[in-house]
């Protein structure tokens, strides 16, 4: 399974970016191989509109199955749903801490009701 974590920095100690669509990077963890890679999301982050759509599309095409981020809007949600990608909401902390919480099963997947424009 591939997990993507939105982040403002390039290493594990960098903070999680709570904005899904305009996050600068994603740390992508592949649980099968144990590989961790960094995805540069600059193009979507600087998009005039539809940043969440472009970001969600990128993750879907990469075959990501779960995302750790602050929250997502309805446009991105539509793609994430269609691509069967689960979203887990975190309130802050580092990428490492978020990953730890996820591994321990402390995070709950986002539901439709929690998806808002703001």
């Amino acid at each position: 399974m591939k997990l993507a974590i939105s982040t403002r920095g390039q290493d594990v100690n960098a903070p999680v970016d709570l904005h899904f669509g305009r996050t600068r990077f994603f740390r992508i963890v592949d649980f099968e191989t144990g590989a961790e890679t960094l995805l540069n999301n600059a193009r979507a982050a600087n998009a005039p509109q539809g940043a969440g759509i472009q970001t969600a599309q990128t993750l879907a095409r990469l075959g990501v199955q779960a995302v750790l981020t602050g929250g997502v809007g309805p446009n991105a949600w539509r793609i994430l749903q269609a691509a069967r990608i689960q979203v887990f909401s975190v309130r802050g902390g580092s990428v490492g801490q978020a990953l730890q919480s996820f591994r321990e099963g402390l995070l709950r997947p986002l539901t439709e009701k929690q998806v808002t424009y703001f």
Binding site: Q49, I53, Q54, Q57, R61, G63, N75, I79
Partner: protein
């Protein structure tokens, strides 16, 4: 004569000026079309209280993807600058409300899986408020681009001596869509740091379109000279100053046309009409129309019974400002 009433900052009084000016011109026998181009928050109808007789939907063309023939190659999503189309591993999704209708995706699709279909983005209402022709556009909730609705609203305006376009605030695409192709721009400002800052931006926009323009200072306060200094520097004439008065705010909040209910404003708007006649391009304003308006204003000022009483008039600003403004157009003309 296409006259657009714009501003940089919102809430400076565009609609107050546009509606009162429309009523003033109509009262003096001119044919007037009021066109509300502020399609995200049209409010001219609150003051003019028109009878709407026709409503027409505005549509834009958006892509329809045939999922059967789509190769999922992603070229359509890659070409879309507005991220209105997303290509997933098993389907292609369209976000109609984000689409600008450019047709790029249709062209790049290698197998012709994308066709274009109309999508409603707003409505244009046409009617009349007394002698004034009334047109107003409204953008549908959730739609991201107003220029197509502004364009349709402008196109729906009937021919008139004066077409008064009430522009959206700001200095971005919607405002430019209203200003583009007009004959003269009236910029309404207020003497606050935000008002003047945005007036500077608006003046730059008008300059790029190479259009003549003048300024109306709303909520003018005696002794506040920043707006005048700014206009002098920019070589733009101040056409009128509307005083900062609680009476005006009260009438506005009740949906009244201030020119009809607040004493002293009739004179200010008559003066504004005369200034506009001096300022607007001669070729857009036939000599006969000009003479007719001048004569009507002169006649009405000689019969005080037709207007609110001048006695007890709390405003002295219009008459105070008049002589000093006289010299500015000459200076502007010789300098340019």
């Amino acid at each position: 004569m296409n006259l657009v009433i714009a501003s940089g900052k919102g809430g400076t009084g565009k609609t107050t000026v546009a509606t009162s000016l429309a009523v003033t011109l109509a009262r003096h026998g001119q044919t007037v079309a009021y066109v509300d181009c502020d399609v995200e928050t049209p409010n001219g109808h609150l003051f003019l209280k028109p009878m709407v007789t026709r409503e027409r939907p505005v549509e834009k063309l958006v892509p329809r993807v045939n999922q059967e023939t789509c190769l999922l190659c992603g070229l359509c999503a890659a070409v879309c600058r507005f991220n209105a189309i997303a290509c997933l591993p098993d389907q292609t999704l369209v976000y109609e409300e984000l689409c600008h209708g450019c047709g790029g995706c249709t062209r790049v699709c290698p197998v012709g899986a994308i066709t274009e279909a109309p999508h409603p983005v707003g409505v244009v209402k046409v009617g009349a408020a007394g002698a004034i022709q009334f047109v107003s556009g409204t953008l549908n909730v959730g739609e991201s681009t107003s220029p197509p609705v502004i364009r349709a609203t402008r196109q729906a305006a009937p021919a008139a001596d004066w077409t008064i376009l009430d522009a959206p605030p700001g200095t971005a695409c919607p405002m430019m869509e209203a200003v583009r192709g007009s004959d003269y721009v009236v910029l309404v400002t207020e003497p606050t740091p935000f008002g003047l800052h945005d007036l500077r931006l608006a003046l730059e926009v008008v300059k790029t379109f190479d259009l003549p323009c003048g300024v109306v200072v709303n909520r003018a306060q005696p002794g506040a000279t920043e707006a005048r200094d700014l206009c002098r520097q920019a070589r733009v004439r101040i056409l009128a100053e509307i005083p900062d008065a609680v009476a005006i705010a009260k009438e506005y909040s009740r949906g009244q046309l201030v020119v009809e209910t607040v004493p002293g404003l009739r004179e200010i708007f008559d003066q504004l009409c005369l200034r506009l006649l001096e300022e607007v391009p001669k070729e857009k304003c036939p000599h006969e129309m000009r003479q007719r308006l001048e004569a009507a204003i002169r006649a009405s000022s000689q019969s005080p019974a037709t207007g609110p009483p001048a006695a007890g008039d709390p405003f002295s600003t219009p008459r105070l400002a008049a002589p000093r403004q006289r010299e500015e157009p000459t200076r502007a003309a010789s300098a340019s």
